[in-house]
Amino acid sequence: MRTCLEIRNVTKEFPGVLANDHVNLQLRDGEIHAILGENGAGKSTLMKIIYGLYQADSGSVSLYGQEMHFTSPRQAIQAGIGMVHQHFMLIPALTAAENIVLGGEPGKVHYRRKENEEMVRQLSKQYHLEIDPSVKVSDLTVGLQQRVEILKVFYRKAKVLILDEPTALLTPQEVEELIGVMERLRLQGIPIIFISHKLDEVKKVSDRVTVMRAGRTVATVETNQTTPQELANLMVGREVVLQVAKPPQEPGSVVLRVDGLVVVQGHAERVKGVTFEVRRGEIFGLAGIDGNGQFELVEAITGLLPAKSGRIVFKGRDITKTSVHRRTAAGISYIPQDRQADGLILDFQLAENFVLRDFTRPPFAKAGQLQMGAITHHAERLSESFDVRPRRIHSLAGNLSGGNQQKVILAREVSRDPELLIAAQPTRGLDVGAIQFIHDKLLDLRREGKAVLLVSLELEEIMSLSDRIGVIHDGRLMAILPGGHVTREQLGLLMTGVNPEKEG
């Protein structure tokens, strides 16, 4: 088999961080090559070098034996390299079709809307990535936006495809579909670099795996000759336990009660009368397919969206009309699902981001003055105990790797000592070690008698952590089940709106 892409001794240094350290990688024709590595191991950096976004300090990138010196992504695209980024790069105000053809519009000056939409429709059929080309990107769910990104790369006729954590944002169903797409592409001989933190996906779809650690490529192995355990150990450099230990525990009094909550966003009713409780010492999991109102529900509980009707009661007090600030101060922590849009200010320093939710309170502020000493100290302590790398608290949050950005949010929200933690997709984009760490933190909170509302699109996560599971479909709670005994199938049916109890 021919070698398609070859990376030799690539080194890239950022101020104070050696992101890539003599990296070597060979991508063969027609293979799916997975790259695994902890958060901040240098995966995205390497991909950006291949894609011409960054220039390597030394080393070489060759395509079919010919050395390449891309100085811009345009050159990489012309050479046939396509990349889907970890974070979206779409223009929300444009339609799906417009986003896909932008930069390579078929017409000259005149934009032919009908034709383009038709062409995009064909394209989306061809790759089994169904979208409505005429819908504005801002109206699409996260999962659908991802599809647009992927279609966009196909539209530019990529010969080599780089997918940087494409599945982090997808629902399990969409992941299945994406895997299908990747397999079809492999049949067409298109080599794919696939970055993921999910060992099962890697195991399922890839031919070979390269493991990166601290900027170096530590091993490349044939996928079918390795085990998830071995991969995890290679990544972390030590033994990893892939199990959740959750001792049984009696829940305490009710912390949060949601009663007949209705939430309207835009003109659509997204939450249609939801009622449930979360108790002390319990993890309440909210399962559902993306776009069924789960995120509007949590935004209403945190105060970011107004409730149209119904009540939200926290520790016995009606907070339905209380401000975000008050709710936060009362002890509600919230890990939003969209870390870059809601959870962080990318142009703020890490230290500032660590106090984003508490900067008005002592010890971080006294008489309206920020207490730099306390803020710095807090940031140092949190980045240490949550292992945020690199530990440069005065650099901008935007310079962190995706997973480390997520850790900053987690550290901030968990360390506030909340009565209630609402965690929306808390482990998205994290490596196995970090996921383990977060799960342990959630269980710690549970043990300390705190309430946790966990919203996740991943059934595994919901099932392994939750004491009770609420299934949401089309803005309604289909059922609330005890966590220990449900099966994937049961949840899966409920999530699509079928209630076996009621119908059979």
Binding site: Q86, H87, I91, L344, N399
Partner: protein, 359 residues
């Protein structure tokens, strides 16, 4: 450290390129650039007199530049600093001549405080509330309010209630108890300089050391995250414009009490507009504002003697400032264009206008 180098690099390069283009223009029109720039330099800094006038001219620019910078930091473009400057001037002059019997310190303080309040309300009430409540764009509203302010002030001294008895359209002279004393007699340089420098420190402190500044900057950078952080975004939008106008009003007051001492029939200080360039060149850094204000003031004072000595029209300095604006705007524009293209064409990183990696 690198951050600072980078922060200073763009303005420096813009200034140098602009001066170089100025050179080309001079050569093309048959002038000697060395002689001209030499004259400009010595006209701006060459004598105590020149130097003090340059610094005196920088004072209103520093103050209104700080105002514009605060707006930018909160993501707001206060284009109406000129109008807020005139409202401040008007109030200061009125308090200056109509209030009697106060000791100097008190009189000055009163005039300044009321002028600041007036400037702040001028920007905060209508443009601020309109933005916060119905989303009316501040560029339009502050600009409109600016015209209203200018015409209002003009009316006041041209047959209006503030016109001095007689035929000259001007206000009465302010009382000596309210005049800000000069640092160097017979120049324009007053102790207003102290106020301007102190204001830069206060603005720096406000922006970076207080919770109010934290909120303003958060709103300026990411409205959604600001909401998530529990910040009352409409309130801080209003506050940002209020502070912005406050400083422009202060600029007017200091200029009236320290230099002009009455309102004349000429309502085109240009300070409020140059303030925008001052803030841009300083990249909204409060201390940078001091330097860039001195630079623009030097162009203005030095330009006169350049014209006298070398025959190069003083308007060349306008060309130079125009080019600087253009270069800085172009850099911002380039960043935006690059990002847009990146988002669309090459799917580059999405942090608007920055080269910090997206992940």
């Amino acid at each position: 450290m690198r951050k600072y180098v980078r922060g200073v690099l763009t303005p420096l390069v813009s200034v140098i390129v602009a001066l170089l283009i100025g050179t080309v223009v001079m050569l093309a029109t048959g002038h000697n650039p060395f002689q001209a720039y030499g004259a400009l330099l010595s006209g701006a800094f060459g004598s105590t007199y020149a130097l003090s006038n340059t610094i005196a001219g920088a004072i209103p620019l520093i103050l209104s530049g700080l105002g514009v910078a605060i707006g930018f930091k909160a993501g707001l473009f206060n284009i109406g600093a000129e109008g807020q400057y005139w409202i401040g001037s008007m109030v200061a002059v009125w308090v200056g001549y109509s209030v009697t019997g106060l000791p100097p310190l008190l009189h000055i303080t009163l005039a300044i405080a009321l002028a600041m309040l007036a400037g702040g309300l001028w920007a905060g009430v209508i443009p601020g509330l309109a933005k916060a409540l119905v989303g009316a764009h501040e560029v339009i509203t502050t600009m409109m309010m600016s015209y209203i302010a200018i015409f209002l002030t003009q009316f006041m001294v041209e047959n209006g209630p503030m016109m001095e008895k007689g035929f000259t359209p001007q206000s009465p002279l302010i009382r000596s108890s309210v005049m800000i004393p000069k640092i160097i007699p017979r120049t324009q340089l007053s102790w207003g300089l102290l106020i301007a420098v102190a204001a830069a420190f206060v603005v720096y402190w406000l922006l970076f050391k207080t919770t109010v500044g934290f909120r303003l900057r958060a709103v300026g950078l990411n409205v959604r995250a600001a909401k998530y952080a529990g910040i009352n975004v409409p309130l801080y939008t209003v506050l940002a414009l209020f502070f912005s106008g406050l400083l422009a009003g202060l600029a007017g007051a200091v200029q009236m009490l320290g230099v002009q001492q009455r309102l004349y029939d000429s309502f085109n200080s240009g300070y409020g507009f140059t303030a925008i360039v001052v803030a841009l060149l300083a990249n909204n850094n409060p201390f940078g504002v001091i330097l860039s204000a001195i630079f623009f003031s030097a162009l203005a004072t030095g330009g006169q003697s350049m014209q006298l000595v070398s025959g190069v029209p003083a308007q060349l300095t306008d060309v130079v400032s125009g080019i600087i604006i253009f270069l800085i705007a172009a850099k911002k524009l380039m960043q935006i264009v690059q990002t847009k293209i990146a988002q669309t064409k090459w799917s580059k990183h999405q942090n608007l206008g920055s080269e910090k990696g997206a992940q």
